[in-house]
């Protein structure tokens, strides 16, 4: 992995990184990918998992709501910036 690849991944991940971080991460991620690529040595068919995995979809009725506003203050208080009943963020559409 090259430095430019790391910079691209960082951009996708919405993390600003320095030049030094990009260089270090390129080396570290290359080493880790080298190790995990070992799983490509495993061949064989995907087993029939029904008997061993017991996962199924879980549904509930769309009803029984809590009282409106019950958690509003608690949750808004956690926001870095609020405007009345809203979480305040910078403009999303436009020059971004």
């Amino acid at each position: 992995m090259e430095k430019q690849d790391v910079e691209h991944l960082a951009k996708l991940s919405r993390i600003a990184i320095t030049d030094g971080e990009a260089t270090a991460l390129a080396g570290e991620i290359t080493t880790i990918l080298g190790y995990v690529s070992d799983i490509n040595s495993i061949t064989g068919e995907r087993p029939e998992v029904k008997e061993v995995g017991a996962l199924n979809n879980v549904m509930r009725d769309d009803g029984d709501p809590h009282e409106p506003g019950l958690y509003t203050e608690d949750l808004l208080n956690a926001a870095p910036e609020r405007d009345g009943q809203y979480v305040k963020v910078k403009k999303i559409l436009g020059d971004n």
Binding site: A10, I17, E21, I29, V36, R46, P80, D95
Partner: protein, 471 residues
């Protein structure tokens, strides 16, 4: 000290919850400056201890099961009104608006919540050196790490500041620190315990876990926190998996081919001696072949970062946690996450983003998920012949602080513990082994793995070979 012993004294009044609080507080005041097990020590604990003391006087043995028992909670589990930092700068000032289900269930039995404990940032690490608030030291030998990521919880119990603690275990984060600190550490069957209110790391791997000084204590806490929860759709029902029965005599399988991976020689010798002891107790120990276990770590370091990159996308500086201002919304994101996350967290987010990207998805994530299914099929086949699988918990005792600088060597410390998380099976670490380093006796755990929903079997077996054999 165990909960069982403590409770007896609380009931007969020879020792009170207030005494327990005072003793715990004394340990924290004397030692925690060096050990740094705690993120926050609760100032309302004394009042709780006083109330608990009165309640025992009134109710005796009818008092709630954990009343007055000093308890510590890993700081990635939400306790209403307390900070839940995940030992990260991005959540440094985040106060939990609700109780995690495990906390709600614990509180019903009224333990004495002493404080919250340090961890590797967002539970990513095996040494608690990755905490944004500084490392935790091992109370057994302060030059060594307590293990991780639940190192603070392990250190809290090991130094006597609490009698039990909750942690979380995504790839060994309860069992490995239990091994390094000489405690019982437990990871339940995936879905046995609710994840609601745990700060998510790898959602298909995470489980809340337990630290105690005995298997019976662990079983007691498990019985309180486990069970179906409507807030976590992955929690299982009693009939989700086939019943796993307890036995008088167990057949234990040792995956001998798996043990060759980078183990200290004296750990292997102690492990082999322990097999002899189990045999002398009447159990049968046989070699089994589990060739895929070795590849577990590779699959884990694909699946886990993939889930990390997705789960940590929520830290955007908008709804809660840190925000660092930029000129635009995009800059807010980039700067907030650059300043808020530490190096290991960034590394895993980038790695996860890579393995999930178009063109690489099938080769990494798709393949790793297939390997998980193959591992489940492989172990279920072996469980037709044996009741429990036995390995060391860690290939070495606690290592020195600063010893493992490159990420990959740190990851290798998880080799024996990650398979249980990948497969979703329950696993316990029991402090049965010791080795000597620089004149100090260090503990090493033995890990036992049972089939899905075999939690009760691990407790039954663990009590037989550990609790019942100690003076």
């Amino acid at each position: 000290m165990t909960i069982t012993e403590l409770r007896k004294k609380f009931i007969d009044g020879s020792y009170t919850p207030l005494d327990a609080y005072n003793d715990a507080k004394k340990v924290i005041d004397e030692k925690d400056g060096d050990i740094h097990a705690f993120v926050d020590v609760f100032d309302d604990a004394k009042a709780q201890a006083e109330d608990a003391t009165k309640e025992y006087a009134e109710k005796g043995e009818n008092a709630p099961a954990l009343l007055g028992v000093p308890f510590a909670i890993k700081n990635n589990i939400l306790i209403k009104g307390k900070r839940a930092t995940a030992s990260s700068k991005i959540l440094e000032n985040y106060v939990a608006p609700y109780d995690a289900t495990v906390i709600e269930r614990l509180k019903a039995e009224k333990p004495l919540l002493i404080g919250t404990t340090n961890l590797d940032e967002f539970a990513m690490g095996g040494s608690t050196e990755n905490s944004a608030f500084g490392p935790t030291k091992n109370p057994v030998d302060e030059s060594r790490v307590p293990g991780g990521s639940s190192g603070g919880s392990a250190a809290s119990v090991a130094m006597g500041a609490s009698v039990a603690a909750l942690g979380t275990d995504t790839g060994g984060s309860v069992r490995q620190p239990a091994s390094f600190c000489g405690l019982v550490g437990y990871k339940p069957t995936y879905g046995a315990v609710s994840r609601h209110g745990l700060i998510a790391m790898g959602s298909s791997l995470d489980q809340a876990g337990i630290f105690t000084n005995s298997v019976a204590d662990c079983e007691l806490i498990y019985s309180i926190i486990a069970g179906k929860d409507k807030m976590d759709a992955t929690t299982i029902n009693p009939d989700t998996y086939p019943a796993v029965e307890n036995k008088e005599i167990y057949t234990i399988g040792v995956p001998r081919d798996f043990l060759s991976v980078g183990m200290d020689e004296d750990v292997l010798e102690a492990f082999d001696a322990e097999i002899e002891r189990l045999t002398s107790l009447g159990h049968t120990v046989v070699d089994v072949s589990l060739p895929l276990m070795k590849q577990g770590l590779a699959a884990y370091y694909i699946v886990m970062p993939a889930e990390v990159s997705s789960n940590l996308a929520r830290y955007d500086g908008m709804r809660y946690g840190l925000r660092v201002e930029g000129d635009t919304l995009l800059e807010d994101y980039m700067k907030t996450r650059a300043e808020g996350f530490g190096a290991e967290v960034k590394r895993r987010i980038l790695l996860g983003t890579y393995v999930l990207s178009a063109g690489y998805y099938d080769a990494y994530y798709g393949k790793a998920e297939m390997v998980r299914d193959m591992m489940r099929a492989e172990i279920n086949e072996v469980f037709k012949d044996v009741d429990i699988i036995m390995t060391p918990t860690s290939p070495t005792p606690a290592f020195k602080i600063g010893e493992k600088e490159d990420p990959l060597s740190m990851y290798l410390a998880d080799i024996f513990t990650v398979p249980a998380n990948l497969m979703g099976v329950p696993a316990i670490s029991i402090p049965e082994l010791t080795v000597e380093r620089e004149g100090i006796i260090l503990p090493v755990g033995v890990q036992y793995i049972a089939p899905h929903a075999g939690d009760a079997r691990l407790f039954d077996f663990g009590k037989k070979i550990f609790d019942d054999t100690r003076a």
